[in-house]
Symmetry: C3
Subunit: 551 residues, 3 copies
């Protein structure tokens, strides 16, 4: 149970051993199918994603069922018979879920059992989501298309939320993949300020090797996994542009998850990987050079070189043998930074949390404190909200946060004055004597599941709520991370405490005493009990990539 | 007579007491009308704005009168009768001016009297200008439209000058407004280098309160007003992004003027204010959150919250009672910077002027000297040119200056090699043996009145001239302010002194002795006597926001 | 034999004496003609530029000859007779070359003779190239047009290579010129990351003076010439924006070459020169101001000013007399940096080379070591590859290099994953179970001659090869130059040495022993023997601006 990340900096070798998560491979292999059932599920999930009251929800769900029945009827008419095999397929994720759960039942200890169940749930949701992604990809049925349109429409109003399907495979083999989120500036003009940042996630099966490569981007890696051999969960690594990196997942059972922030150095928003070692897949960049040049450079006949650069066809993430992994795991030298200082990985969770209460914790590594984050001016954060809890509404003073859901489920609501207001103002003539206030806040919201990402722009008030049955765990990168402040708007430590009561009286047009009374009603700080009456529809415990036991 | 600006940084309260200017409220209320008279005035002002000879001027003015007569005739035909009330309106600014002047006549001391008269004049010009702005806004008459077109055409050739009407109200109540200048990159491609800076001006009536808010922009405030209780004219405050700011104008008679430079932190060139306290107007961002979340966050039933966030409807700048202002004025703690250092306001005019002579002074706070200006790399400057004087032609080595006319009137001329030359070069084939010089300077010029703004790009030679009858006072922000130099091109301290006479001989193709003789003819430095034969048409003394007495 | 660059910083004068190269003026005057012969030569050069096998080359050359014969026939038909004089013209470069060579033959010492011959060759190639540039400029014949199209097509696939004709004259007189390379972002979206950098080259005849001016760009000058009076070859000068600069070439025989990197401070990618002294050509910016303002500023009647600013008509680079040059050469004070530190020029070649072997050397001045390069974050490098040698394939970790060919000839090959891959990925749906690898490298290549420029983006593996008969000499600016590393991919010091053999075994899918054997076959480091079987077609030795003797 170990992974290895090798950063070649200057002429120094770095071996970093990383943890993985127990996600066994045979499950992964069976997750590829598509169906009317999938569409139904997708539709139901969509109903569930948008916060609404029970009545609307029932109505939405009914519509899903109707559409499902229509589609089934059509399929029967078009395909004729022969759909027998399908049933088997479509119920697989559900069946797998049941099998997985029953296995967990055999475990005795309560905590391990709970953890096992969470993983079943997470795996199930992941499979379903990927199924939906494929459904949407086909786009050959009316239902999906109309959904797509409304989704796009919704997105133009919500450029800050990215469901996990928005991460697209850049590299994919049987043993894992590297997925990258679309360019921010392509999604919305409002994201132009962060156009030179990209978010990526690497997943690799047990006993695998990710081929050595470098990248034309500065990057920060965060290990989102459990404690392991010699690298701890929450470890953060700064990988300078051009460093040669390779990884091994030496665990026998668990998958490796690494979240990456990339800052391209050549063209804004664009980066590529460069594989020197390799063959046909990944293509080695050596194959680009003329034979004469290669022969001269390597001082070797072209036949031998053609052989050397012609064997590898398995892709970027490949299976490794026990012996190979053992050999690769021996050295443990750490990487060196570009300034000659030691730039080994550091652990985010070793330090004191920045904020903490019995309902949650927030850890942050700021570029003010960590030399290796300084030139990128990027902070790294981990937020943990206990089930049923919420973080008190707050805003970040100057940093824009890119947040990735690492574990659990929940939702967020954010007030945004930029969305939807642009057209309103343009061309509007000022009337005489008019009282004018050029600000209106749109609600930006999203239901959060593992793998989703969202953006919190600077100054935007936000509330994040964990679901009733799972701890919500978030990893984040903070652009312009130095000298950033979190200003809480509610709770004992809220920023309004510093405003005189006369100012509040004037602002709210209400007696100061009444205003103060309300602002003092919340006795907790930072993390608060969430809205208790919601979320009960969902039955299962939802697992997390992070083992939250002991978090 | 005091104003208060509160910056909430970290958990510290800052109370800054600012001065205001005597601009009584009843005058403001009566300034809202529109008329053919306004159009006439506008037309005449336009004639006056463009430097021309007396003959052209007379011709231009005659055209204005003709257009005025045409329009009057049309109005009579269309409206039928009933325009009786109009006359009353249209002559109001003029009448007010007379009343104001006669009040001044009662004051005994010469200096106070002169100052009083200047304010009358300034108020009069301001009202007329706002009147014209409205005229132009309507755009329902041919005269204005054709004027508009020629104006636009002129602007494409002069992207550096902004008449005061180009500041647009973002917030406006009966008690004041916040106006923002259009985005620079929208005006011209040439301003792309400063696209992430915005210029704004806040004006607030006596005894008013500006509601607490924060902003997704870094900013610098400059008080452009007179010495006051505990803040001095020329005080500069750095307001970090996300800081909660509120202001009071505790003066009984004078208006508050604050000039702001903003550097948005989310989307280039775009920023918004965020009001937490408030109700319907300004809308509180709390109203965006779901009721369940608000109830949980505040631990308060929704009815009470709905009441709390439903009362305020008066807008962003509101009247405050004597008692409220007294209470808000007691604390005087100063703000703290983000680096833990003291970041209180500092005064630009306390230090030695950078350049000074008997005809003018220039003060500058550079990011090299002031920690709080360092991360923005912005300098703040004040230039004062005595009536009839001019600043010797000069250029700034690397900084682009955004200049705002604070007091007086005058004009500028600037040599610009970028304007109008782009098309010429494109696609032009190089001929054989051709002597080629790829540079031609266009003259950029403008007549300056209080409230106008202009840009001086780096390297551009400029001359600024005060009118014969008023001291010209300019406040400026310098983008890329560090290590900037002002290089004077004429006068005793001109930079050509450092060039050997042989180089001048070669450059001018004229005997060195003759060249040197001319360059030594000007015996003054920095500020010089201006061109004396001009400007005599204008009769009135023009006042300034800054009390220039003792400047 | 000396040149002078004067930087006026603050109020300090700097006199920098620069060297020139022996390129006598009468040769320059005769180089302006155009012909079918030129087109033939151009066509042949094009055949030669693209690496191909002998068969294709013969075919290409045959096509050139056919086109030449067609054109000659057409000329005879159209022009009638009377083309007698042309012949004289068209063979001039060839004849000059022969005369030049025969002069060299009279010199006794082997090294001087070789050097003399190289200069003849270089001058010949330069003349031919300029001839071709003019041919291409005319664009009035089918041959050139079709060539042009294929050239453009080629360029869209190769945005990194700029033949010397892409430098366009901004200033040109009989005594020299200043040429500027097109804006990078206009050539390709991929170059957006360096859009605010420009490359320029100044050439001035013996005994000339470049008029004083300043520029709205930060800049770095590199002297690409031989050791001289008091400035050495390889000297680097940082010229802050707004500094007044003038130069003299006080050598009697040699031309001055200065390579410049510019970083505009006003509008991204755009800069202009500002001439204060001057007259009609170069136009003095003083001429832009109104007469009244000039009269007041200079305290001088307008007649005298009109005379002062009306004489100079010769342009920016003019002939100077012996006496003037002597007077201008006396002062030798050095310039001061903007931070008060001494910012005199420093010499790149004085220090230890960063890498060196018997086949080449690489010198670099990094912003980590040189204060004057720090704010621009730009490095300056010189690479020298002995004839027949090559630099081992390598990549730069984070810096993008703008490279200029200073001497000799050769070629480069570079692997680029960005070119041509954009469309492929867009809109491509992920298939199930697919092994995906989102990277393919295109070969970017170019034949290098003196005056060409090319770009090496960060992370891009490149090989550069000197031709068999000339030492290739390259000057380069490195954008984002701090903390950049050169990672060699082949040779004894290659970065794969740091990767364990098991990792190579896995990557290449080949036994570790075999892989290691190949990687150890090259016993040299950094600079290697090039592909020996090529390049023999070219007979002449090719000279260099840099005197490589003793390099």
């Amino acid at each position: 149970m170990a992974i290895k990340i090798c950063l070649l900096l200057l002429l120094t070798l770095s071996l970093l051993l990383l943890p993985i998560h127990c996600y066994t491979k045979h499950q992964e292999q069976e997750e590829e199918e598509e169906s009317a059932e999938g569409a139904l599920f997708e539709c139901l999930v969509k109903c569930d994603k948008q916060p609404r009251n029970e009545e609307e929800l029932t109505h939405c769900e009914q519509r899903c069922v109707n559409e499902y029945q229509d589609r089934k009827r059509q399929e029967r008419e078009h395909d004729g018979g022969g759909g027998g095999g399908e049933n088997h397929h479509h119920y697989e994720p559900e069946q797998q879920y049941k099998t997985c759960q029953s296995k967990c039942g055999r475990q005795e200890q309560g905590q391990q059992r709970q953890y096992c169940q969470q993983k079943c749930q997470w795996q199930y949701e992941k499979q379903k989501r990927e199924q939906q992604g494929r459904e949407r990809g086909r786009g050959d049925d009316v239902v999906t298309n109309s959904n797509k349109k409304s989704e796009e429409k919704q997105e133009s109003k919500n450029p800050y939320f990215f469901q996990s399907e928005r991460f697209v495979s850049k590299y994919k083999t049987q043993e894992g993949h590297i997925k990258v989120l679309e360019r921010f500036s392509k999604k919305s003009e409002l994201l132009k300020g962060i156009e030179n940042y990209r978010l990526a996630i690497l997943e690799a099966n047990p006993n695998t090797f990710v081929l050595p490569h470098h990248c034309d981007a500065e990057s920060v890696f965060v290990v989102v996994g459990r404690q392991s051999y010699n690298l701890k969960r929450g470890d953060v690594m700064r990988v300078p542009a051009g460093s040669i990196v390779y990884l091994i997942n030496r665990d026998d059972n668990e998958r490796l998850y690494v979240l990456k922030l990339l800052q391209p150095v050549n063209t804004p928003g664009r980066f590529k990987e460069y594989f020197g070692v390799g063959g046909e897949n990944p293509e080695s960049f050596f194959r680009t050079f003329s034979n004469e040049i290669l022969e001269a450079a390597f001082n070797t006949p072209r036949e031998r070189l053609e052989k050397l650069f012609g064997q590898q066809r398995k892709g970027v993430i490949i299976k490794a043998s026990k012996e190979q992994i053992r050999a690769l795991s021996q050295e443990t030298e750490s990487s060196r930074g570009r300034r000659g200082e030691s730039w080994g990985p550091f652990n985010l969770l070793d330090q004191q949390p920045l904020f903490s209460s019995n309902l949650g914790q927030y850890f942050e590594a700021s570029p003010n404190d960590y030399q290796q984050l300084k030139d990128l001016d990027v902070s790294v954060g981990f937020m943990h909200i206990k089930q049923g809890g919420m973080v008190a509404p707050y805003y970040n003073s100057r940093s824009t946060k890119l947040v990735f859901v690492v574990g659990g489920s929940g939702q967020f609501e954010m007030a945004c004055p930029h969305v939807g207001t642009q057209t309103k103002q343009q061309g509007r003539k000022e009337k005489q004597g008019e009282t004018r206030t050029d600000v209106h806040y749109e609600k930006i919201s999203g239901r959060l599941s593992v793998g989703d990402a969202f953006i919190i722009p600077a100054g935007h008030p936000i509330a994040i709520i964990a679901s009733q049955d799972s701890n919500l765990q978030l990893a984040s990168f903070g652009i312009k991370g130095s000298y950033d402040q979190k200003y809480f708007l509610v709770g004992q430590e809220n920023i309004w405490n510093q405003v005189e009561s006369e100012a509040k009286e004037l602002s709210f047009k209400m007696p100061a005493r009444e205003v103060e009374e309300i602002f003092k009603s919340q006795e907790q700080s930072y993390f608060l009990p969430g809205p208790g009456q919601r979320e009960e529809r969902k039955g299962h415990n939802v697992a997390s990539i992070l083992d939250f036991v002991g978090f």
